[in-house]
Symmetry: C4
């Protein structure tokens, strides 16, 4: 009954935790939707949440696209001022100095709308200004709402920008190829940092999920793949992450057909410390068989230029070539 790590549950580095436990990604074995991947290429879950989810306006405003965000801002700007305009029209625009003769409601609305904007933005030219207590009260609320709205926008803009994003680029393809001069095969993919910011203390974790017959019915199994190297301290160039298919590997002794038959999904989790944001960042991705190539290798990504300066060519992260001999 004794599982490892129980004595120190908040220990992220229990040196005793069993592989079984480590390899659990929280999917359980219930998910057997054949053909469906668990993790999308962008790292999000391929699962739909239903019911009383907690709608978080802040979160969605921070995570929506920029175009979407600016549209929301513009819409809010127009709607709010239209609302105030209606109120001004309701109490009568003659309670505003410089109001038009007002032959039509439309005219009044337009007039009140622009006055509201001048108040909401605190521009307050003054060509128009409230003259009655009623209009003064509404103008006061208008200005307060405006300032609070822009206070909010400030926070949102800051949050949107300062949200740390791992700038790690995963190779589109993974390869299965002989490992160095050993008799072993190996599963390999590579990552690279797109930005010039410094990522340090990189850690990699690769889990394989596959479908297996368990007494008759299909069940999804998981296993943690041992990596030739699971950490680097600096990340100046590309990093090829290598799982050697030895006897401890679930892929041991299987040929391409057998592996494809397992419907495997290789789930990669990368953790790094981003010095720009002074925070840990995470990047995830997954590879299904459609993205794995046999007997291919990754091309070299960096070269010295004429001055001996090392050049890293980012787009080459996806380049794989047929395997003739080791580079």
């Amino acid at each position: 009954m004794k599982l490892s790590g129980l004595k120190n549950p908040f220990n992220r580095s229990s040196s005793k935790s069993s592989s079984e436990q480590e390899s659990d990604l929280g999917f359980g074995t219930g998910i057997t939707t054949a053909g469906q991947r668990l993790i999308n290429r962008d790292g999000s879950f391929n699962i739909v949440r239903r019911g009383m989810g907690a709608w978080r306006p802040y979160q969605s405003l921070v995570e929506m696209s920029w175009t979407h965000f600016l549209a929301v801002v513009a819409l809010f700007y127009i709607a709010t001022n239209a609302l105030f305009a209606v109120t001004f029209v309701f109490i009568g625009v003659d309670s505003l100095s410089g109001a038009p003769a007002g032959y039509s409601l439309a005219e009044d609305f337009v007039f009140a709308f622009f006055f509201s904007i001048q108040t909401f933005t605190t521009v307050g030219y003054g060509a128009i200004s409230p003259t009655s207590p009623a209009s003064n009260i509404i103008a006061s609320i208008d200005a307060l709402v405006g300032l609070m709205s822009f206070a909010l926008a400030t926070g949102l803009l800051f949050a949107r920008f300062s949200k740390p994003k791992a700038s790690i680029l995963f190779s589109n393809s993974a390869v299965i190829r002989p490992y160095k001069d050993t008799p072993y095969n190996s599963f390999q993919f590579q990552i690279v940092n797109r930005r010039n910011n410094r990522l340090i203390n990189l850690l990699a974790k690769v889990t394989i999920s596959w479908v297996e017959d368990m007494n008759g019915e299909k069940a999804r199994r998981f296993a943690l793949l041992e990596l030739e190297r699971d950490r680097v301290f600096l990340f100046p160039l590309n990093w090829v992450i290598v799982h050697v298919i030895d006897k401890d590997s679930p892929l041991w002794g299987k040929n391409e057909e057998e592996i494809r038959a397992m419907e495997p999904e290789f789930i990669a989790l990368i953790q790094a410390y981003d010095e720009t944001f002074a925070q840990d960042v995470h990047a995830n991705s997954s590879y299904t068989c459609d993205e794995v190539w046999w007997n291919r290798r990754f091309e070299r990504m960096y070269f010295p230029d004429e001055n001996g300066q090392t050049i890293l060519e980012l787009e080459r992260v996806h380049h794989i070539v047929a395997l003739e001999e080791e580079e």
Copy 2:
């Protein structure tokens, strides 16, 4: 005398720390208030702090409810401007252009109040403007205070929104039921992520607190419960947290009556890394006997829909059903 972990006190993962130490929740054995729970369902302590507590305006403004917060903002807005209005009236509103004939103090106050708001919000229509040095000085202070207030409001709004909140939902009930096909009983509750944000690296810790007779007088004891699994790396679905009642468990060999007699409280602490806020978040809850059900089980929460897409139904986190056979 040698307790574990002493050589590296800032080590959160001492692999040697004794269960005794681990299980200490800082309540000591002094708390014997029978019938009272230690931790409220929302995770807060059931304890009242008295005396020279450090009043932290920022903290309370960040943690109060939205309605309360907006009320404070509105009140501050009105009070501050009323104060400035009084000052303007005091030095005489005739030091402001466009002042009314001023038959009454009330009229003057209203006039000065709205002028103050126009200054405080920096709208400054200009229909009213300071004409004397005195009124200019006050107006200058008014505008400065206004801008600083809105600067503060900006920070508060941002803090309120960006405050990371664990979106973890605890099942209202816990169950005690046979564990799989073993002769053992088990204590179980489940959690689910309400939001679509990604929580990773989840860690669970469950402590039991119960009342015991120690040489005559009642004392409260604590023990850390071993969990079948105390961590998951991803949290796509629900997570049933299971303590198997084996001989190491304080509940070993006890029947429902005996357990109820212990007045047990099961205190759950969850830690996770929230990728939206790029921070660790914590969620806590506790279960007293009133929330524990014998021989019940949790219903399955996720199903494939017609397209084989997996659907997670959040409201089912609370669903427990009588136990017939294993699902």
Copy 3:
């Protein structure tokens, strides 16, 4: 030569690191300033930095007192606008509408000063406005500087408020008293959380520093004190931190006079996770002999009230009483 922990330098929890290394506080043995404490009661170093220190305006503006901060703001507000006023006077206030006849420079300056403030704060009543290109250009700069200044103030206010502060209160005194029913003596002090925010995962580290004769000359030595308990997961009440003076303790077998002769300083470091700020916070303090009392004990800090509700009385953290018998 092999010191522990060398294989994994970024490991804060090296399970092999020697006490010698752990106990090093970075003071080295060179500091022998007798009578002077190393750490002030508030946790700051008793050391003066000289020479090319990096002056950090932001840092000092964040860390200075509130009165000091507001004084800086007010001063900046006046100085900046005075500067702009001078410029307006220089180009001639007749380039501003509504300028006075201008019999005196003083009059012009006052007029320009208040106009600058109306621009700097973007109030812009309009009773005064720039009429020439020159005055328009200066006004444009004035408004830009104003807005950037308030943008800065916003950031500063937010930083000042959101700066996490450990709300941990150290007892003013420490005690040396028999440990429970053992023959051992013990060194004890206690801490309490002043706020209602939740601190979790508390860790304590206590180091002793004392002066010793090393072949003739005085040298300062350091040792880590083993604690009866160096962590609690929750911090609902007070926490008495206890070092048992056993044969591993530098204080072993010493009586009060001998201990006083060592000129000891007990340096306490507390680490905790603050759920309000979602960050680790640290609190430090130190006790010299003048703050240590022999054969005293801490009074109980919490009591059940009439309703069985537990009340924690914060001011009692400092209460020590003569020792008759164990509470």
Copy 4:
């Protein structure tokens, strides 16, 4: 095949990780650009990124110099308002009150430009104000863009200031000198905290990289250097980081000429917890042979003043003197 740490990849403190793995800085052995250093003195990589790098405006605006940043702000301010001015001129400045007779486009542009600035900054004197729907609409957009721009500027200013920067100063030179009274040589450099902020929990990691002949062709090798002490808990004074050149060191038994022939680069990584920013900060630097001095030592940096107060003289961090005898 089994490498250490594989069972717990997200474990930053794997107690089993092999030196080989630890010492990997992610450069691989491919980099053999003789004479070129891998890490610049300021800690940045000596590598050029090419191709589809992710351009991050926020990141660059946060990291550019202050002069550069203010230039961008000023440029943006002028360009944006010029754009709006053109639009106003296009729809005709006669749609603005107080427009000049308008003999020339230039005159109109200047007039519209200053009006746009009054709107963009929300000063809105009112001497000029929009009179037609068209001009009102543009003015409304103008004010919105202005407010959003300053919201953004606020966030940027805050980010620029609050970006944690390790204030750790590395000595310009490193020394190689006998270690204490041992027969061993040692590599030493020192660091000091320039600011008064508290850095705690300092950790040091030093890696050496050198060029070696591997079956004919040059290859770059890496090794982690064991440190006499790789951590201090407080950092009140300077910290001399010492690698003892014993038989486990790649420098073992080599004289100055042999060491220079290795083209070694000593790469230092420091991690610390900054209490002002409540975050971990990192500082890196590297020493090539040109910065290493044989048989020199660092001068003492701190002295007691007349009052017995300890004074730390920062500029002395770079002072090295010829070695006569131990200080």
